[in-house]
Point group: C2
Chain length 470, copies 2
């Protein structure tokens, strides 16, 4: 190239070096200047273009820095091969349709909750107030979570769950998956796990490199008596509301569990206190954590179900002895929950809105539980066995209609009622009188529950009767 | 115990069984009923109390379920040992004071940004609108992130970074730490890493069980020529703006990097495109991902720095071939970002607010960069060497004043100016003319920059002169 065939536009407000840069980058990108072509010397280019040497040097320097041009010492400046640098734009694919599942008329989901019970207007008002205070909250916050939120959680946990901790033992994170995933490598290699148990926790712990040792569950929860011989150094347990059987672990067994831990100071208990807020009969059993004199219980909690699953705020309460290891391992990690949302939650808790909305939701869910239990009892009478109806948003029903678990599930599916068999979650407890299904009722109102059970009765009894006739 | 010494309060609106339950639980909790004490039979208790058998059975059943009482078959009901069940309430500890650091007059932080540049009012307005649409957003959302947000990110990435992807390749998560932590175990055992490099990414990958192989960086970024013999199966790289040297990897080396990957289909490149939004001179170099014909580049992006660090939204763009493995491993994991915040971000992007606020911030930061470069040049003249001043919110200055790196850092600290030496991040590139310091200027305005550099000049030059006099 003898000279740079560009003319400056006097109307262009940009500095000359930028105009030159843009023009050259555009020509190279468009392929008008071929790879390997040599540019004129900077001096001659400046003379030809009628600009200062500095203008040319600045523009070429930028293009060299970005790979459009190559500078060979004592030789000159050459056009680089940038053809693959420039992808052809293509239109974004259409957005995938929102997940819908029209197959089911009724879904007995164990994970769903009724978000219409959430006081969304109050939450939105508090969020608005927090946003008005926002500038201070836009920058980096404490890695462990906002002090205001950790204080409010500590107060709540002491009052409602008997959890004894200082706010500095609380770590806030974007849901239970995240926190349990961080925790997994700190539990040692071998972790006892309930069978049947919570599939999501199983997956997270396994993804965290842990070897799980399954221990059976009976109608009082995990078989703590089998723990010593399991060789586990830690255990994941749901003592308030075993998933999925709903068993509440009695005090004696809780104390045995703590004694197992106390026998070796490296042992740890992960207490997932899932759904303990939704205890319908009697007052809640205090947490294991509150009984633990030696600081070996890690308490795991979440607001996903008690607030709204779309808002992701969970927390761990770590024993003081673990805090140092945690901070060392995760130094520099940022808190995963937006500060605005943490402050909204803190005010929602401290203002009493959480307790009030929980009481209201608990009343609603109790009515649904009563409707479900009533419909099941009146339909299946004395053949029915129920497990775990006192707490949480699901229960286990053993209808006693002489069908296998698979038949129960498939006949329900045939009339578009979704439910899972108990053994989906692992081998059921010994000594049950028959197969069972897990019925989550968080998303069904009383009318829907009555209709769904009426359908199930037909599917299970009539078909059973027909089968008997054959 | 011969009988239950309780009287019912006719003014108490609660059902009788609940009153009985509460009274017994209270007596047991308070230690008035001793562990091991036998209760009267249900029938005699009902007669004594003047209530139905059902009332007594219900109350005792609750107390048994919760561990206050124990039932021994063919013997009776006994008070359990619940003393450790009842922790003494204690006041919550005072909240820790907000983290403050008064030691420093000026902090050249590489992680800080100026949140006053964020259009907080617009964000708050959009958040309000989203909250008004909330009911649909309170329930579980797609695990990969909101479809609207993933579409908006795909559009943004194509337009500004040349990233070619469909929205279904995008995974939204609560910041880069979280996503890189999930990704780590999918990278194979041996991952090449830049030296000097980004300490946070180093820690996350190591916590994820990866063995890092350090490769040196020169003034054109990672030494890609050393990659083949390193034995790595994957690499973490910052090609647009190497951390901390600020080098932009030229096209030739980018193509070499892609050729290394193409030589073995299991090889993966993690492209952390950190701070590429803040390119001040010339147009941004397109991403590696956009150059990659074989789908071996995983693109990592975050809005933490371009929006506000207090809002945690990051994303991965996964090659299509990895999507299956990802979904299998993380099946059932929920998205870690609140749906309300995802939808706010989606509207902020789609409405053009993000691009506008980015352009405004870029202009502000460019002026600060110019002020910093100008002050450094006029203070240290031809002895000064600068690295990485074109992009990002920090640069590396080699002042050429004849001090060691340690002296530079310590003399700055002595006048309460916080900065880090380049070697803090690992061995600096070969061939630099002297020691350097990393100057992050995101949180300093032009006046503060001028003042801080004036202080540094005194500390470095005068002290150097005094040292010379001795």
């Amino acid at each position: 190239m003898e000279f740079i065939p560009m003319t400056f536009d006097p109307a262009d407000p940009r500095p000359l070096y930028q105009q030159l840069y843009s023009w050259l980058a555009g020509e190279i990108t468009a392929g008008h200047l071929a790879a390997g072509e040599k540019l004129p010397s900077k001096r001659s280019a400046a003379a030809n273009l009628g600009v200062s040497l500095n203008t040319v040097e600045t523009a070429l320097g930028m293009l060299i820095a970005e790979g459009y041009l190559t500078s060979r010492p004592r030789s000159g400046v050459y056009v680089a091969d940038v053809s693959p640098l420039i992808p052809a734009p293509r239109p974004a694919a259409p957005l995938p349709a929102a997940e819908q599942d029209e197959r089911w008329s009724y879904r007995f989901s164990t994970s769903g909750v009724d978000v219409s019970l959430f006081p969304q207007k109050i939450w939105a008002r508090i969020a608005r107030e927090v946003n008005a205070d926002a500038p201070a909250l836009l920058n980096h916050g404490p890695a462990e979570g906002e002090a205001a939120l950790r204080g409010a959680i500590a107060d709540y946990l002491l009052g409602l769950r008997g959890v004894r901790c200082d706010p500095d033992q609380i770590l806030v994170g974007a849901g239970m998956e995240y926190l349990l995933g961080l925790l997994a490598p700190l539990l040692g290699g071998r972790v006892a796990f309930e069978r049947p148990g919570y599939p999501k926790a199983r997956r997270i712990l396994e993804n965290g490199g842990v070897t799980l040792v399954d221990l059976p569950v009976d109608r009082a929860g995990l078989r703590v008596d089998l723990l010593a011989e399991s060789g586990a150094t830690a255990i994941y347990v749901t003592p308030s509301h075993q998933f999925p059987t709903g068993a509440t672990m009695p005090v004696g067994r809780r104390l045995d569990l703590l004694r197992w831990a106390a026998a070796d100071p490296v042992r740890l208990i992960v207490e997932d206190d899932y759904d303990s807020e939704f205890r319908f009969d009697g007052k809640p059993v205090p947490s294991l954590q509150g009984l633990d004199p030696h600081g070996q219980v890690i308490y795991v909690g979440t607001f996903s179900r008690s607030i709204a699953p779309g808002i992701r705020i969970g927390y761990l309460v770590l024993p003081r002895a673990l805090l140092g290891r945690w901070r060392q391992r995760f130094a520099g990690y940022s808190c995963t929950v937006s500060r605005l949302e943490q402050q909204t939650m803190a005010r929602f808790l401290a203002g009493g809105h959480f307790t009030r909305s929980l009481n209201r939701a608990r009343g609603q869910y109790r009515r649904r539980r009563d409707a479900l239990v009533g419909a099941l009892r009146s339909s299946f009478g004395k053949d029915l066995t129920l497990l775990g109806a006192h707490t949480g948003l699901h229960l286990v029903a053993l209808p006693g209609v002489g069908l296998t678990e698979r038949e129960l599930v498939e006949r329900a599916a045939a009339i578009s009622v979704e439910l899972r068999g108990l053994s989906y979650y692992g081998a059921p407890p010994d000594g049950l009188p028959g197969p069972g299904v897990v019925l989550g009722y968080g998303t069904l109102d009383e009318g829907q529950i009555a209709d769904a059970i009426a359908l199930l009765v037909k599917a299970w009894k009539n078909q059973g009767a027909e089968a008997g006739k054959m």
